[in-house]
Amino acid sequence: MNDLSMASTATQKAFDVQAIRRDFPILSQQVNGKPLVYLDNGASAQKPRSVLDAMDRYYREMHSNVHRGAHTLGDRATAAFEGARETVRSFLNAGSTREIIWTKGTTEAINLVANGLAPKLKAGDEILVSHMEHHANIVPWQMIAERTGAKVVPIQVTPAGELDLESFDRLLSDRTRVLAITHVSNVLGTINPVNELVGKAKARGVITLLDGAQAVPHFQPDVQALDCDFYVFSSHKLFGPTGIGVLYGKAALLEDMPPYQGGGEMIERVSFERTTWNVLPYKFEAGTPAIAEAVGLGAAIDYLNGLDRPAMEAAENALMVRANQLVETVPGMSIIGTAKQKVPVMSFKIEGLHPSDVGTLLDQQGIAIRTGHHCAMPLMDFYGVPGTARASFAFYNTLDEVEQLFTALQKIQRLFA
């Protein structure tokens, strides 16, 4: 096989969704007597076999505590663990692994940053978030605001589900200390113009955090190009294991922040007179970390790196296009979130049907979606709905599955007629 035919085989593999599906063991099962159609990827994505194998192999062959030195297994575990950190650094294009902190997930990462920035905040300061944030990017800031007297201020969204940039320009002021905003909305799928937002915020010396939880499953961010101060995401939405996530932070800011939790690993020296902190990133990693999960996340990123990313993004886009075409086949159905820049996430309502009923009856047909407020109650209030039904697609979903969703919705509608 010459180089050219190898390259074309690799490309073909990337386009072959059926081959990709075989990498995800969970997808081949039946639910309620029907083949599983998993469209709840925004809540949590499924894991390729290589992730399961990497974690299994870690426990079988190299498990031990990390950074404790003295024996071979410890060296192997540490190498695997720190290797995963390097994989994440490269994925985000961060400058150094010192800037990659393991957390439990996006939520803990935001809490860590909010707590770390608290000493910089005082009464009258403002923390700018948006109306489309997940509760995880609202509540930690509210808790810090309560402690410091600062105020959490939301940027408005437009009816189409885009950030209202005039509202942003109006609210960004001399009082603004932090801009904490989602890269991609979990409810609407909107990709926010974060380059512009971060640029304007930085020009005023505002500290910036981007919540990348819903972005990284669909495209790869470059934290140096974005120039944000913090970028956070969860492994489990990125086809990796639960229980681990990532905080990227610029080293200078991380150095400046107090530790989040105290305990082992995060210290340099402990005495009852004076305890000093370990260097980055360990200063923020108290206790034995989720080692196997870090290894699993590394394997998930390796898996993604093996795919043809442009082809994958094109395939995802085709799913969204097909879904949008089919909306009119379900009378009374409308999409919530029609931003120009979107990842394949479709929140919808159907006149006369409650989202919870839609979810229950799709489940009967083997189709998994999310219904409810999606941990974004302010956004539900904005749209005047108690909740939405949300189908969120991943690269392993097929056009046939999109069509099955709509056939199932038509069936449900007949049931209520």
């Binding site: 309620n32 919870s356 009923d357 047909q365 069936k411 049931l415 209520f416």
Partner: protein, 153 residues
């Protein structure tokens, strides 16, 4: 308008249809569409719920849908009457089923009724299991608490 005693006594669920009617009817439905059409139909039989009773005190928190429940203890007969409301049709249907099993019973009889077993029998248990955030589990708990308070009197 607030609920009057008559509103509670007029709630037919429990008398018509009876639990036997429902069990008999349900038995002959074999695919999910017929089963859920039946449940949705039952939900349509829930009596109107007084608007002013949709308050926090009567609200049962669920992540997916909202449920309200109010009760009236009829001293003369010693029976407990219930009214339930929800914004989701399937939850309304399941609530109707719960009413058919529990409404108009003495608190002791109510407490002796095993709702979990009934829902197991109907293969609907997952809808009232603690893993579903539809509020029905908490609602059943609330009804049992009310009954227990009256039974203790």
């Amino acid at each position: 308008m607030p609920a009057t005693e008559q509103d509670f006594l007029n709630n037919p669920l429990g008398k018509n249809p009876t639990l036997e009617d429902v069990l008999d009817g349900f038995e002959f439905l074999d695919d999910w569409e017929e089963r859920y059409a039946f449940i949705i139909d039952l939900g349509k039989q829930l009596p109107a719920f007084p608007d002013d009773a949709r308050i926090e005190e009567n609200y049962v928190h669920g992540c997916q849908s909202q449920v309200w429940v109010i009760s009236h203890f009829h001293e003369a007969s010693g029976k407990l009457y219930l009214l339930i409301d929800s914004d989701a049709m399937i939850v309304r249907g399941l609530a109707a089923m719960i009413l058919i099993a529990l409404n108009g019973k003495t608190p002791r009889d109510l407490l002796a009724t095993d709702i979990d077993e009934l829902f197991e029998q109907l293969d609907l248990f997952r809808h009232i299991s603690p893993t579903r955030g539809n509020g029905l589990r908490s609602m059943i708990g609330k009804i049992r608490d009310i009954a227990a308070a009256h039974a203790a009197e």
